[in-house]
């Protein structure tokens, strides 16, 4: 049974009359690890904000588990881009995770012991319980990502959106984030990630969404992450083209040799 987690239909999004996303029509199945790939300015982050509901699309609609997103009670977790967070903010790790409980708590009410315990449980699920009273700026890059993932868990989010969690992290941190992602997938959560490194797509993600203002292709990584689709996504951008070619070569050599000659 392959349920659809996110269904986007005819979505067009514009900032000041300039379209940033045009005619997007795509379904993301439940429980998938989905990469959103495309050149700079392709509208990847905008797509995430549309799913999150912070930007209203100019046309089209988004359904979350078959319910229009405006009416949905489903909470969507969001792990922001690292540069967009104020790491000097006077807030401790556990307080960030507790934010995940605020919506269910409602206006005016203070979080209590139940919320604290739940937040701690979520923090423990990403292996960060020891760090609960650190100020967030004192953490390493991977730990910071895990705290925000714990916040999504505290929301009990079935869908988690992440904006470039792998940008500028070292190899060890990348491994840590990957294993947390694997845990999320085992939990049947749907994770949508803006990702830049074409080399690792094939290893990390089972679903891929190629975007360049319009939707170029979407589907399981095996059948969708192909040379033709990448060329259509990145167009004439030469260095990226090389990178894409390199990525595809790796895929081809990694798979059965019989396919290697095929173009």
């Amino acid at each position: 049974m392959n349920q659809t987690a996110i269904e986007i239909h005819d979505l067009t999004m514009a900032y000041r009359e300039k379209p940033v996303l045009w005619d997007i029509d795509v379904e993301i199945p439940k429980g998938s690890l989905c990469a959103v790939v495309g050149p700079n300015g392709a509208g990847k982050s905008t797509l995430l904000s549309c799913i999150l509901g912070t930007h209203k699309p100019a046309n089209g609609w988004i359904k979350v588990f078959d319910v229009p997103s405006e009416q949905s009670d489903e909470l969507i977790g969001f792990v922001p881009q690292r540069e967009s967070v104020d790491w000097d903010f006077p807030i401790q790790v556990l307080d960030v995770v507790m934010m995940g409980t605020y919506r269910r708590l409602g206006w005016f009410r203070w979080p209590g012991k139940a919320q604290r315990d739940w937040a701690l449980e979520c923090l423990a699920a990403v292996g960060m319980a020891d760090y609960r009273s650190r100020q967030i700026g004192e953490l390493s890059g991977g730990q910071q990502q895990r705290v925000f993932i714990a916040r999504a868990l505290a929301q009990d989010a079935k869908i988690i959106l992440m904006d470039e969690p792998f940008a500028g992290v070292d190899a060890a941190t990348e491994d840590t984030i990957r294993s947390v992602l694997a845990d999320l997938k085992n939990d049947e959560r749907t994770v949508v990630i803006v990702h830049h490194d074409l080399q690792t797509i094939e290893d990390y993600f089972d679903h891929v969404l190629l975007l360049n203002l319009r939707l170029v292709a979407a589907g399981p990584t095996e059948s969708t992450f192909t040379r033709e689709n990448l060329l259509r996504t990145y167009g004439g951008q030469l260095t990226l083209l090389d990178e894409a070619a390199e990525a595809v070569r790796r895929i081809r050599s990694g798979r059965s040799m019989g396919k290697a000659g095929g173009k």
Binding site: P90, I91, G127, R151
Partner: protein
């Protein structure tokens, strides 16, 4: 002995400080401190217009005028960067200049051609005159302070989300727009009620300094609000008392100086972020590191058959250790001195062995851990033992990686 008049002023300035401290925290966290200055300056044309229209210096007329132009200023500051290509900081600075210039021009018109001598006191709003605070002014400030305080208590989590991560707030359906509007409104009202006391020019200082001071003492949002409000109230009280009892100085500037003093004191003595605390921690760390090196060095020599090691080999010798570190070793009973030579005491031997084994275990753990935590790499043997004992049960990263 406090005169009844002074009591009114005291109530007014302390609740004003409380109120400014609360509202100021939100500005500081939004990185919009300059906004307070721009809004304070944009009250001036409103004050003068209120006076010209009402024909008197009635509190409500001037207040309403000031609130109106402040809100206009606030709207312009927030809309200009969206509608045009002006950057937020330029917009803030321009609005400050334009409104204040207009205010000064209107003021001189009012003083020349206005209804005679009634316009005399208007320029008090430039620098404020807390000592002459009226009962109704103090009452208004107190009421506003109570409302602001209650709103902060009720809405602290919504306000925190709007300051820290408004995308998250919007995404979970919290109305961030309402909160932003509320914060702007509270800021404008706070600025308007503080004008009679501290004036257009100094209001911003009262809004900005208390939260900056509070930031030295805490890493938590709610604590920041509380400390900032406290610092504001304290500055109000001490400034009023100092200026009325001791110095013959205007109250507003003295209040600002008091809060600046609290800021300076915090900068120096705050335990975690203060200069002295940081310096002391650094020195202690350095000394313990050197002590460890001395003990290990002596221990290595002991194993090699040298029980006694010449002092020069340690101080500025092969170890280049500080003599204060060595003194510390001797004082702690780890090392004893025999003439020009040094040797480990039995206690020192035990300590050195403990330190060596802790370091060994620690490097092993670091080698196998997936990521290194900058805060954790330089530790004493006690910390290492405590950490490793606790971690040996979970060490999630290690196990995952070895598979």
């Amino acid at each position: 002995m406090i005169l009844p008049n002074t009591l009114i002023v005291l109530i007014g300035t302390s609740t004003l400080g409380f109120c400014c401290g609360l509202v100021g925290s939100l500005l500081l966290l939004r990185k919009r401190a300059l906004l307070a200055d721009a809004l304070a300056h944009s009250t001036l044309p409103g004050i003068v217009l209120g006076f010209l229209i009402a024909g008197s210096q009635a509190y409500w007329a001037l207040g309403a005028g000031a609130l109106l132009t402040t809100l206009l200023g606030a709207v312009l500051v927030s809309r200009l960067p969206i509608l045009t290509r002006i950057r937020p900081d330029s917009a803030t600075a321009s609005i400050l200049g334009i409104f204040f210039g207009t205010g000064i021009a209107l003021l001189s018109i009012a003083q020349r051609s206005g209804p005679g001598a009634y316009s005399a006191g208007l320029d008090h709003f430039l620098l404020g005159q807390a000592a002459g605070m009226l009962q109704q002014e103090a009452l208004t400030i107190t009421i506003v302070a109570v409302i602001v305080g209650a709103l902060m208590i009720l809405l602290h989590k919504e306000i925190m989300v709007s300051c820290f991560d408004s995308t998250f707030g919007k995404g979970t359906g919290m109305s961030m727009g309402v909160i932003d509007l509320l914060v702007m409104l509270l800021l404008s009202i706070t600025i308007v009620i503080s004008l009679p006391a501290v004036g257009v020019v100094l209001t911003a200082a009262l809004v900005v300094i208390p939260p900056a001071t509070a930031r030295f003492w805490t890493d938590r949002f709610t604590h920041l609000l509380a400390i900032s409000a406290l610092v504001g109230a304290l500055s109000g009280i001490s400034g009023t008392l100092l200026s009325s009892q001791r110095l013959d100085l205007p109250t507003g500037p003295v209040i600002v100086l008091c809060s600046a003093t609290l800021f300076a004191v915090s900068l120096i003595v705050a335990p975690h972020k203060g200069l002295v605390g940081r310096r002391l921690r650094w020195i202690r760390r350095k000394q313990r590191r050197e002590m460890q090196r001395i003990l290990i060095f002596l221990h290595e020599n002991l194993q090699g058959g040298n029980e006694f090691v010449a002092r020069e080999r340690i101080i500025a010798g092969s170890l280049a250790a500080d003599s204060s570190a060595l003194r510390f070793c001797i004082l702690s009973g780890f090392v004893e001195q025999a003439g020009t030579h040094l040797r480990l005491t039995p206690k020192g031997i035990a300590r050195a062995e403990r330190s060596i084994s802790a370091r060994k275990r620690w490097t092993e753990w670091l080698d196998s851990a997936a990521e290194i935590d900058r805060n954790l790499i330089d530790l004493d043997e006690e910390d290492i033992e405590r950490l490793l004992d606790r971690r040996s049960m979970e060490i999630p990263d290690m196990e995952r990686d070895s598979k």
